[in-house]
C-alpha cells in the first residue's frame, strides 16, 4: 500500500501542474466573487468551531496511528 501511495504522487503533481497551467490559458474563473454568498455561509465552513474543530484531530491522533492531512479544520471559499 505504501508503494501505491507513491504512485499517487505523480498524479497529484499533474493536477497541480494543470491548475498552474490554467492561469495561462483561456479558462477564466467561472464563479465570480459576487456569486459566492452560499460558499461564504457559515454552514459551509469547516473551521466554524475554531479550536473545538481542531480538538477532535487531537482526540483521533491520540488513539489512531494515522496523522496528517486533517486539513478540514479550515473554512471558507476564497470569497473575499
Amino acid at each position: 500500500m505504501f508503494s501505491e501511495l507513491k504512485a499517487v504522487l505523480p498524479a497529484m503533481t499533474m493536477v497541480v501542474a494543470m491548475f498552474a497551467a490554467s492561469g495561462c490559458s483561456d479558462i477564466k474563473p467561472w464563479v465570480k466573487p459576487y456569486e459566492r454568498d452560499k460558499l461564504a455561509d457559515p454552514v459551509m465552513s469547516l473551521s466554524r468551531h475554531g479550536k473545538a474543530s481542531s480538538y477532535m484531530h487531537h482526540v483521533y491522533q491520540s488513539r489512531e496511528s494515522t496523522r496528517g492531512s486533517e486539513g478540514g479544520s479550515g473554512g471558507g471559499c476564497g470569497c473575499n
Binding site: 455561509d41 480538538y55 487531537h58
Partner: protein, 388 residues
C-alpha cells in the same frame, strides 16, 4: 505523557494543528486575515478508563491591516485508569499545558504564517516551530497552501530522573482548495511526516509466553524503530443544498514505513433552523491495519528486533457519531462584540480491536485467549467564540 498516551510524535501540539489548519489550510480565506476574536473552549473526553478535560483560550488580534497575532493557552487534565495502565501500572493523574504564539502576515493574495508551540508535562516536553504560506489565485477560486513544521521532543520517565530521550519531527504539507460551482467546493491535502529518535512510550510494555509456564506470560519493554515516515492524502467535498444546509464528504488514506495503513471516511450535515440556530451531525468510520512488528503476544522474549503491543499499532476499526447545536448572533447589540457563536457538540466514539486482547478481563484465560478489547468514549465540547 504516561502509560496511556500513545507515542509517535504527532499529538503533542493540538495548538499547532489548529493554527496550521485554520490559517494555513487552503480552506481558509486566503487573502483576508481572520477577524479579531476570543475562542473559549471546554473539552472533555471520557471513556476507556480515561477522563481528560480542560480549558482552551485563544485570542487573536490584528495589528494594522496586514498582521494578525494569536496566543493560545490549552490544558489537558488527565485521570487515567485505561487498560494499558491497569495491565502494568497504577492509576494516575497528570496535567499537560500548552502555549502557542503565532503571527500571520497578509501580502496581496498570500498569507504567511509563523508560530511556536510549547507543550509541557511532568515527563514530556515538546517544542514546535511552524511556517506556512497560503496563496490564492485564479480569481480566488483556487487556494494552494504549503506548510512546514519542525518539532523537538524530550521524553522523560517518572521515577527515573536519569532517563531523557530525544525525538525530532518534521511535517511537510500541501493543500489545494478549489471552488467548483456557486454551491460546491473540493479540496485535496497531502502531508508527509518524518520522525527520528525515541518514538515509543517508555511506560508501555509488550508480553511474551513464559518459557517456564505456557499458561502464563511475562512483560518486556517496547522497542520501536528509531525512524518513521508517513504519507497521507485526503480529499473532501462540500455541497450547499437547495435550502440553507450543507453536506460534506471526506476520505483519507494513510500509509507509513512501519507497515500501517488506514482509511478514514466521514460524512457530515449542517442544517440551519433559522438565522441564528443550526443543528449538525456527522458519522465517521476509521479502519487501520497493524504495524509489521506488532504482536499481542510474542512467542518468546526478544523474539524480533522491534517489539510493540501498543493497541494503537494493532489492527482495529472505529466509528464516531456526532451531533451539535449552534447559536450564532451576528451584529450583536453587546458592547464591543460584533459576532457571537456558542456551540455544544457531542461525539460518541467506539473502537473495536482485531488483535489486541484485554488482559484485565475477569476470568481465567490462557495467554492469547483473552477477549478482544473494545471501548467507547464520549467527547463533549462547549465552545464560545466572540469576535470583536
Amino acid at each position: 505523557m504516561a502509560v496511556t498516551e500513545r507515542r509517535g510524535g504527532s499529538l503533542r501540539a493540538p495548538g499547532l494543528i489548529v493554527l496550521l489548519v485554520s490559517v494555513a489550510s487552503p480552506w481558509a480565506i486566503a487573502a483576508t486575515l481572520p477577524e479579531d476574536n476570543v475562542d473559549l473552549l471546554y473539552h472533555r473526553y471520557e471513556g476507556g478508563g480515561m477522563v481528560i478535560d480542560g480549558p482552551s483560550v485563544l485570542v487573536r488580534k490584528n495589528v494594522g491591516p496586514q498582521v494578525s497575532v494569536t496566543g493560545q493557552y490549552y490544558v489537558d487534565s488527565v485521570s487515567a485508569a485505561s487498560v494499558d495502565v491497569l495491565a502494568t501500572a497504577s492509576e494516575y493523574t497528570e496535567e499537560r499545558t500548552e502555549l502557542t504564539a503565532g503571527v500571520d502576515y497578509l501580502y496581496e493574495n498570500s498569507i504567511l504564517s509563523l508560530g511556536y508551540t510549547n507543550s509541557s508535562e511532568n515527563d514530556y516536553e515538546a517544542d514546535t516551530v511552524y511556517f506556512s504560506v497560503s496563496q490564492e489565485f485564479f480569481g480566488g477560486m483556487s487556494t494552494v497552501t504549503l506548510g512546514y513544521a519542525n518539532g523537538w521532543d524530550t521524553v522523560g520517565q517518572r521515577g527515573n530522573k536519569s532517563f531523557a530521550e530525544e525525538a525530532d519531527r518534521r511535517n511537510y504539507q500541501f493543500g489545494l482548495s478549489q471552488v467548483i460551482t456557486t454551491n460546491s467546493l473540493v479540496g485535496l491535502d497531502f502531508e508527509v511526516v518524518t520522525d527520528e529518535g525515541f518514538l515509543q512510550n517508555p511506560y508501555r510494555q509488550n508480553r511474551f509466553i513464559d518459557p517456564n509456564d505456557p499458561n502464563n506470560f511475562q512483560y518486556q519493554p517496547e522497542r520501536y524503530p528509531q525512524t518513521r515516515t508517513s504519507y497521507s492524502v485526503a480529499t473532501r467535498a462540500l455541497y450547499y443544498l437547495p435550502y440553507r444546509a450543507s453536506v460534506r464528504a471526506e476520505y483519507r488514506y494513510f500509509s507509513d514505513t512501519w507497515g500501517i495503513d488506514s482509511h478514514t471516511y466521514e460524512l457530515a450535515y449542517v442544517h440551519a433552523l433559522n438565522p441564528r440556530w443550526s443543528l449538525e451531525g456527522k458519522a465517521r468510520y476509521y479502519d487501520q491495519g497493524q504495524a509489521d512488528f506488532y504482536s499481542d503476544l510474542y512467542a518468546f522474549e526478544n523474539s524480533q528486533t522491534h517489539l510493540a503491543r501498543d493497541k494503537e499499532m494493532s489492527s482495529f476499526s472505529g466509528i464516531t457519531l456526532g451531533g451539535g447545536l449552534v447559536y450564532e448572533w451576528k451584529q450583536t447589540s453587546l458592547p464591543g462584540i460584533s459576532r457571537l457563536q456558542g456551540s455544544l457538540l457531542l461525539d460518541w466514539l467506539e473502537f473495536d480491536y482485531d488483535n489486541f486482547r484485554d488482559v484485565t478481563a475477569p476470568g481465567n484465560f490462557s495467554p492469547g485467549e483473552e477477549p478482544l478489547y473494545s471501548f467507547d468514549a464520549l467527547v463533549t465540547r462547549a465552545s464560545l467564540i466572540l469576535e470583536y
